[in-house]
Amino acid sequence: MSHGSGGRAMAQLIDELFAPLLGNDYLAQGNDGSVMPLPDGPGRLVMATDAHVVSPLFFPGGDIGCLSVHGTINDVAVMGAKPLYLSASFILEEGFALADLKRIVESMAAAAKEAGVPVVTGDTKVVEQGKGDGVFISTTGVGWLPAGIELSGNRAAAGDAILVSGPIGDHGMAIMSQRESLAFESPIVSDTAALHGLVADLLASGVQVKVLRDPTRGGLGTTLNEIARQSGVGMMLQEARIPVQPAVAAACEFLGLDPLYCACEGRLIAIVAGEDKDKALAALQAHPQGTGAAIVGSVHEDPHHFVQMTTGFGGKRIVDWLTGEQLPRIC
C-alpha cells in the first residue's frame, strides 16, 4: 500500500481485504453511512469511542485488531448497555505490510463475529512513512441501554463491595514481555476479551450493581481511585484477595512494577451493594470469563477519598493515584 495511491487502489483494498473479512449486509450497501434498526422498547443509546495505538501490534493472546473491537465493546458494556454496532477507521503507515494488515483485519473480524457486534461502517487513510506506527485503529460503538439500568462512576457508596472478574495485569505484562522480548519462565498472555456477555449475566442475576469499569490504562489502582473520587468515598482493598497470576506477580516483582497499575483489557471491576456481594461473585464465577473472580474490597466513607490496601502484616498502605509515571519516591 502506498500513500497517495488513488481511489482505485483504495477501492481494491476495500474490495479484496476489508469486505470479505468484515463483510455484512450493512457494509455491503456501500454507502457513506449505514442505516440500522434499534431494539424495541424503552431505552437509550450509548456510544463510546476509542483510538487504539499499541506497540507491538501482535502480542501473546491478541493483536491490535481484536483489541480495537474488545476495547470499545467493553466501554459500551460497562455502561450496562448491549453493544449493537461498531465503526472502524484505520490509519495506515505507507509501506505497512499487506500481510500484517490482513492478519489484523482477520482478527478484528473474528472478534466482532464472536461478540456478535458487526462493523457497519469504516474508513481508511494512509499517511507518509514515519508519520504513523504501522497502523492505528479507531473504533466507535453504539449500544442499547434498557430502561432502569443506571451505572455510573459516582454511584459507589459506603458498604458496597468491590469485585474483579479475574487476575489483573496480564495484558500490560504480555505487552511488555513481547515489546522488550523478555523471556519469562511461563509465558504471559493478554486477557483481551469482550465483556458484554459477562456484564449481561451479572445484571441479569438481580444484583444491585452500582459501577462497572474495565481497568485499562493505569490498571486497577488508577481506576478505583477515579471511582473513589467520582463517588466521594474511600475504599479498602485486601492485597491477599486480589487475583494476580503467579507469572505476572513474579515478573512485576522483578521489574519493580506494581500489578495494581498494569493494564487489563478483559477484566471487569464491579461495585455492588454489600449485601449482594456473594450473589455477584457467584454470577461472575458462573460465566467462563469470570472463573477467576474475587471480592477484593469494600467501600467506606472517607472525606479524603483514599484507596487503601491491607498488606501482609496487617499494615495498610495507600494505593496512590499516580498523576504521572510511577516515579520512585524513596529518599
Binding site: M176, E180, L182, E253, F254, L255, G256, L257, D302, H304, F306, Q308, T311, F313, G314, G315, K316, R317, I318, D320, W321, L322, T323, G324, Q326, L327, P328, R329, I330, C331
Partner: protein, 779 residues
C-alpha cells in the same frame, strides 16, 4: 537592705521567650522577695510583664538576674526595661492575674523529671513516694498533655483530676516549687497506673513490680510514656529481643535502649566528649553512641552489625520506677549513680508504620499479638511525639529526628515575615509553621504511605496552628504531585485562597540549613541525599546548587546511575552494582560479576537486559544510591532490610579500617568532573568491583568520594565567586563523609554551613520549604 538614702526606681520589665509554664513567675516572685522589692508580675500574650520598685542598685541586680538565673526550662530571649509610673503602689510583691485573651507565647516541650522530684519519688516518707505522675514547674510533660492555650490545668489532660487540699495548697504557695504547676497531683487526687494483660484485663498487684517481673521473665510490655507507647523488653535477653523482632515484623533494623543512668550507659558504650551530658539533658533524646567491642554480646540482636547504639535515659517517673524496682527499691538516690543491670529495649509502638499508639484501649487493640502486658494509666496523651534522636560529632550535636523533648521549641530565623505553613516531604514527614522570626518544626510525623499517618499530619497542622494562633498567608509543599502532603497543601491553600508554593526537594534541603544558620546571602549548596524530584523532572539526590533565596540553580549533579526496577533497586544494592557496571560500559560483565559476589542471587541476566533495554531503569544522581552501588560492588549485601542499611555498613567498615590504619588515601584518578558539571565517580566504582578487601574498599570509597565532592564544590564556589557552602541531605548523617567534607572544604578556605537544629535528612525539609516560600514572597 532598706537604705532609704538610695534613690528609688520603678521599672517595667518585659521578658520574652519560653517563660510560661516553666515556673518563671514564682522565680520572679522569690527573687523580688529576696531583694526586698515591691511590685508585681503577670503573664500576658507577649510573655511576662513585671513592675519592680526599690533602691536602684537592687532593681538593677534584680533585672540582671532575670536572665542569668532563669529556671531550667525557661528560654529567655529578651529582657526589655523601661521607666514607668507604678501601676499599684502597695508595698510587697504580688503575682497578679494573667492578662490577654490568649495568654501564651509558647508552650514548653516535655521534660525529664528534675532532681528535687526524684528525691521525693524515692524517699519513703514523702507523700509522693513511688508516685508515677509527680512533677513540678521545673519538669514533667507539657506539649503532650496540653489541649490548647493558655496553659492551665483545665486545658490539659489533668482536667479530670481535681486537686486535693494538699496539692491545692502547694499550687497556691509562691514559695513552693509546685506553685502554679498546672499538672500538679498526688496519689490521693491524680492519675493511677494500671497493668493490663494481653487481653486488656487488670493484673493484680503493684503494677510497677509486676511489670518488672514480666520484663525480667522475658516478656514484652507496652509502656505508656509522655508521647506514646513503647514496646519494651529486657535488652540483655536475646530470646526476648528476637521475639520482639518477630512480633513487630522488624528483621534487622536497630532498636533503641533505655539504661538507668550514665554509669549503666558507660558499661554498654564508650561515652566520649559531651555524650554523658547529652544523655542527661532534660530533653532526654535517644543519643547514638559508638558501641564497644562487647556491646553486641551484652545486648544480643538489639542493633546487630552497626557501629552505633541508640540509648536514652529514663525521663518519666514511670521509667525511673521500673529501674528502681529492678534494683530492689532502695531508698534515696545513691543507686541512681551506680550502674544498674536492667537495660530495656524501647521501641515505638507504631504497628505497621502507622503513628504511635497513645490511647489505652487503642493499645490493647492495635498492639494485640505484640505486647504480653500493658503498663498504662489514665492521664491522656493529647499529642503524640516519638522520641528525638541525636548524635554528637566534631561539629556539635546533630538531630536525626526531632520529637519528644524538642517540640514545640522553635528555631529562630533571621527575619520577620508573613506566616507560612509547610507540609513537608513524603518520608519522615514533619511540617513547619513559621510565625514572626520563629519556625516551629513539628515532631516527627512519619512516612505518608498510610492513611493514619496522613491524618496525623492533618491533626498536627490544625493543632500547631491553633496553639500558636497562626493564620498562614502562604503554603509550601514539595514539587512531587502525588505526595499526600502536596495534595493536602493544595487543598488547604485553595480553601483559603492563599498561594501555594512548590519547592524542589533538594532546594528545600539547602534552604533548611540557610534558615537555621540565618545566612542571608547566596551560597553553593551541596545536597547529598536519597531521591527527590528535581526542577527538571529528574530524580535528584547528589546536587551542586546555587541557592539565592527563592532561586535555585543547578550547577551540576553526580553522574547518574540507573535504577533497574525503580524503587526496588533501592532495596537491592546488587542491582545498583549492576547499574554501575552498565554505566562503565561493562553490561556484558554483569552476570559473571553477580555470580562471583552473590552466588545465590538469581536474575542477573534479566537485570543486564533491563539495563540494555532501558526497561524501568530511571536514572538518578542520588548519592544514597551511589552508596548502595559501592556496597553492592564490594559484595556487602544483596538486599537491605531497612533504609540505608548498606550505607551504614559501608561506613562501619570504613571506620574499622581507619581504626587500624588511620585515614585512607583517596584513590588516584578515582573521579572526573566532566563538561556538563557532572561529578563522575565511575573510576572509583570500577576499582571497588575488583577490590576484595571490603574494609579497605569502604575506607577508600569514603576518602575518594569526599575528595571528589570537595574539589567539585570548591571549583563551583570559585566560579560563582562565593565562599560559603551549605551541606544538606540525609547522607550528611554519615559521620565520616560529613567530617571529611567539613575538613576538606574548610582547608580550602570555605565557610561550611550545616544542619544542627533541624535534622539534615528529610525531617528538616519542611523548614526549608517554609523558608523558600517566604523568600519567594519577598521578591
Amino acid at each position: 537592705m532598706n537604705d532609704l538614702t538610695l534613690p528609688l526606681l520603678c521599672r517595667r520589665v518585659r521578658v520574652r521567650g519560653l517563660v510560661q509554664g516553666v515556673g518563671y513567675r514564682p522565680f520572679v516572685y522569690r527573687l523580688a522577695f529576696e531583694l526586698g522589692l515591691s511590685g508585681w508580675v503577670r503573664n500576658d500574650a507577649e510573655g511576662v510583664d513585671i513592675e519592680a520598685r526599690g533602691p536602684a542598685p537592687l532593681v538593677e541586680r534584680f533585672i540582671a538576674r532575670l536572665r542569668a538565673e532563669a529556671p531550667e526550662l525557661a528560654r529567655v530571649e529578651a529582657v526589655e526595661v523601661r521607666e514607668a509610673e507604678p501601676e499599684r503602689s502597695l508595698p510587697g510583691f504580688l503575682i497578679v492575674e494573667s492578662r490577654g485573651g490568649h495568654a501564651s507565647t509558647a508552650i514548653g516541650p516535655d521534660s525529664a523529671l528534675c532532681h528535687d522530684c526524684l528525691e521525693e519519688l524515692f524517699s519513703p516518707q514523702d507523700r509522693r513516694h513511688r508516685y508515677a505522675f509527680t512533677h513540678c514547674t521545673h519538669c514533667g510533660p507539657r506539649y503532650s498533655i496540653t489541649r490548647e492555650l493558655p496553659y492551665d490545668r483545665a486545658r490539659t489532660s489533668l482536667a479530670p483530676f481535681p486537686q486535693c487540699p494538699a496539692c491545692t495548697a502547694e499550687y497556691a504557695d509562691p514559695h513552693n516549687r509546685r506553685f502554679h504547676a498546672e499538672a500538679n497531683c498526688c496519689p490521693d487526687c491524680g492519675p493511677q497506673l494500671r497493668l493490663l494483660d494481653a487481653a486488656g484485663q487488670p493484673i493484680a498487684g503493684d503494677p510497677v513490680r509486676e511489670a518488672v517481673r514480666l520484663l525480667q521473665a522475658g516478656k514484652i510490655v507496652a509502656l505508656k510514656g509522655y508521647g506514646g507507647f513503647h514496646l519494651a523488653c529486657d535488652a540483655r535477653n536475646g530470646a526476648a529481643v528476637a521475639e520482639l523482632r518477630k512480633r513487630k515484623h522488624r528483621e534487622e533494623k536497630p532498636f533503641a535502649v533505655m539504661a538507668a543512668n550514665v554509669a549503666s550507659a558507660n558499661a554498654l558504650c564508650a561515652l566520649g566528649g559531651d555524650e554523658a551530658g547529652l544523655l542527661e539533658l532534660p530533653e532526654r533524646s535517644i543519643v547514638l553512641l559508638r558501641k564497644q567491642d562487647n556491646t553486641d554480646t551484652q545486648l544480643p540482636g538489639v542493633a546487630p552489625g552497626l557501629q552505633w547504639l541508640g540509648l536514652m535515659l529514663p525521663y518519666a517517673p514511670l521509667h525511673y520506677l521500673l529501674f528502681h524496682a529492678a534494683a530492689g527499691e532502695p531508698e534515696g538516690l545513691a543507686w541512681l549513680a551506680q550502674a544498674q543491670d536492667l537495660v530495656l529495649v524501647m521501641t515505638s509502638a507504631n504497628p505497621g508504620g502507622e503513628p504511635l499508639v497513645t490511647d489505652n484501649a487503642e493499645a490493647v487493640e492495635r498492639l494485640a499479638g505484640m505486647a504480653d502486658a500493658f503498663l498504662c494509666h489514665d492521664r491522656d496523651i493529647v499529642i503524640r511525639s516519638d522520641d528525638s534522636v541525636i548524635r554528637c560529632d566534631e561539629g556539635g550535636v546533630q538531630f536525626l529526628r526531632r520529637g519528644r523533648g524538642q517540640t514545640p521549641r522553635p528555631i529562630k530565623l533571621k527575619d520577620e515575615g508573613p506566616a507560612v505553613l509547610a507540609f513537608g516531604p513524603y518520608l519522615k514527614n514533619t511540617l513547619c509553621v513559621v510565625k514572626g522570626r520563629e519556625a516551629y518544626l513539628s515532631q516527627h510525623i512519619g512516612d505518608l504511605d498510610n492513611v493514619p499517618t496522613v491524618n496525623f499530619l492533618e491533626e498536627t497542622v490544625a493543632h500547631l496552628l491553633h496553639i500558636l494562633d497562626v493564620e498562614p498567608q502562604v503554603i509550601a509543599h514539595d514539587l512531587h504531585p502525588d505526595f499526600p502532603s502536596t495534595r493536602l497543601a493544595a487543598a488547604f491553600a485553595a480553601e483559603r485562597g492563599i498561594p501555594a508554593i512548590a519547592v524542589a526537594h533538594h532546594h528545600a534541603h539547602i534552604a533548611a540549613v540557610l534558615a537555621e544558620t540565618r545566612y542571608p546571602k547566596p551560597v553553593i549548596g551541596l545536597a547529598l541525599d536519597g531521591i527527590g524530584l528535581g526542577e527538571d523532572g529528574g530524580l535528584w539526590g547528589g546536587e551542586l546548587l546555587r541557592v539565592d533565596g527563592a532561586d535555585c540553580q543547578r550547577l551540576g549533579g553526580l553522574l547518574p546511575l540507573q535504577l533497574p526496577g525503580g524503587d526496588r533497586a533501592a532495596r537491592e544494592p546488587w542491582r545498583l552494582a549492576a547499574a554501575a557496571l552498565h554505566a562503565l560500559g561493562r553490561n556484558g560483565d554483569i552476570e559473571a560479576f553477580v555470580a562471583r559476589r552473590y552466588p545465590d542471587q538469581q536474575g542477573a541476566g534479566m537485570i543486564a537486559e533491563m539495563l540494555r533495554k532501558q526497561l524501568n531503569c530511571p536514572p538518578t544522581s542520588s548519592l544514597g544510591r551511589l552508596f548502595d552501588a559501592a556496597a553492592g560492588l564490594l559484595g556487602l549485601r544483596a538486599s537491605q532490610r531497612f533504609e540505608a542499611q548498606a550505607a551504614m555498613e559501608l561506613e562501619g567498615r570504613a571506620h574499622a579500617w581507619e581504626e587500624r590504619h588511620g585515614p585512607a588515601a583517596p584513590l588516584t584518578d578515582g573521579w572526573n568532573i566532566n563538561n556538563d558539571g557532572h561529578l563522575d565517580l565511575l573510576p572509583l566504582l570500577a576499582w571497588l568491583g575488583e577490590c576484595d578487601d571490603a574494609d579497605l574498599g569502604a575506607a577508600r570509597f569514603h576518602a575518594t568520594l569526599a575528595a571528589g565532592l570537595v574539589h567539585w564544590a570548591a571549583a563551583a564556589a570559585e566560579r560563582a565567586n562565593l565562599s560559603t557552602l551549605a551541606l544538606g541531605g540525609g547522607c550528611l548523617l554519615n559521620h565520616l563523609l560529613s567530617r571529611d567534607l567539613r575538613m576538606g572544604l574548610q582547608a580550602r578556605g570555605l565557610a561550611v554551613l550545616e544542619a544542627r537544629q533541624a535534622p539534615p535528612n528529610d525531617g528538616g525539609i519542611a523548614l526549608g520549604q517554609a523558608w523558600v516560600a517566604r523568600q519567594s514572597l519577598g521578591r
